[in-house]
């Protein structure tokens, strides 16, 4: 299930991208599984279908989705290995950015660690439920 907030400062397209990416990462949708059409998801969320279509297209360009005429929107099968050094470098870079932003906002290192820990625990809970 995905959730968007119409009053958030984060653009709707970005919220959608994050929600779908997280759903894939959590295993809520599996590789090869079909997602709702842009019109269906837009109708369910009460937003313009073009916003959903743009989000889908950007995820296709990122290699997360496959969009085929007549086939719908499919989650792309995972390629590569968790041990891929390039993947690890990208993850480390994003974590470094997140920590930098948190420190610039005045959050101390213990609190940052706590945030990460709680987030990991929530994923583990969902994985085991």
């Amino acid at each position: 299930m995905i959730q968007i907030d119409l009053e958030s400062t984060v653009p709707l397209e970005e919220q959608l991208r994050q929600a779908v990416r997280e759903a894939i990462a959590r295993g809520e949708v599996l590789p090869g599984q079909e997602l709702p059409s842009s019109r269906q998801l837009a109708a369910d969320l009460g937003i313009h279908w073009n916003t959903v279509a743009r989000a889908y297209r950007s995820m296709r360009d990122d290699g997360l989705l496959v969009i085929g005429r007549g086939r719908g929107v499919l989650v792309r099968a995972r390629e590569g290995s968790p041990e891929d050094p390039e993947l690890r470098e990208r993850v480390i870079a994003k974590m470094r950015d997140a920590v930098t932003e948190a420190r610039l906002g005045g959050i101390d290192l213990d609190a940052i660690g706590g945030i990460f820990q709680r987030h990991l625990e929530s994923w583990q809970e969902e994985a085991t439920s």
């Binding site: 299930m1 959730q3 907030d5 119409l6 809520e28 709702p36 369910d44 313009h48």
Partner: protein, 314 residues
Amino acid sequence: MNLAFHYLFALAMTCGPLAMLYMHLRTFERAAADLPRFEETRALLCEGLRRLAIVTLLCLAGLMLTITLLRPQQGGAPHGILVVLEMAVFHVLWWPFAVPVLRQADGMVTWRGAGSRTGDGSRAPGHESGGAPSVGDSKVRVAGLTPRRVSDDLSPVARVLPLLVGVVGVGFVGWRLFQVHETQGFVWQAAMFASGGIFVLLGYALWIRMEVRSPQPLVGSGEIARTYQEALEENRRFRVRAIFALEVLFAAVMFVVAFCTIEAAGGRLSGATIGILGGVGGSVIGILGSAMGIVGSVRMQKLRLLREQLSETS
């Protein structure tokens, strides 16, 4: 006589759509009176229906002018062409104007956005449902990630059988009248009975298209979740029963009215009577289909409100 037939036929074809617009509004008023922002949505719906009524009357005026200019003769090519044109205007050309307005009522009761937003968060004009105002207060939206098809809502039997009943019914009546009026020419007869079938199929396809947007079942526990699931199943059963009823009603009406009329007239039916039968029969089904579509949409909106209550409490 031929001019009178065509004028009468064009008028009969107009009455159906106009009556449908009126029934559409009345059904909306009865079904959606308890939903938020009812007055505002009603005003917008009236505006759309008023524009559609003007389009309908303009179609009639155009037809009347065409009839007067062509002055068809008995059995002549313009005669058959005019009949096809008269039905095409109100059974095919009118629908692209009508569908957005008729679905506007559907969008107003099922779409809960406060206007559409683009990806950068700015408000964009228009929406696929016609810029419907918000009918709810929640700014947090939830949706499932499972795609839906018509097959998710209707069994294969429920989808195919009503269409088959309608097509067989129209085909049988057409064959029967073909035997009686075979001198009128195939174009005239084929157009006459295709009209009812086209109207039914278009209305059916429209309604199915609206009904595909059914709420996604939620995985949850507790009383609200159970209530939601039960309401969802009940709504699905309603749609299936309504589709069956619509198609069976059309076939029954066409069988009984046309058959009795032909038999009472000794097997010789006037062109005007046949035209009125086709126009009225098809229009009645269109009205009923439109009313059922509105009722189905309002039921979906009530399910959406229940789903939001569920997501807020879970």
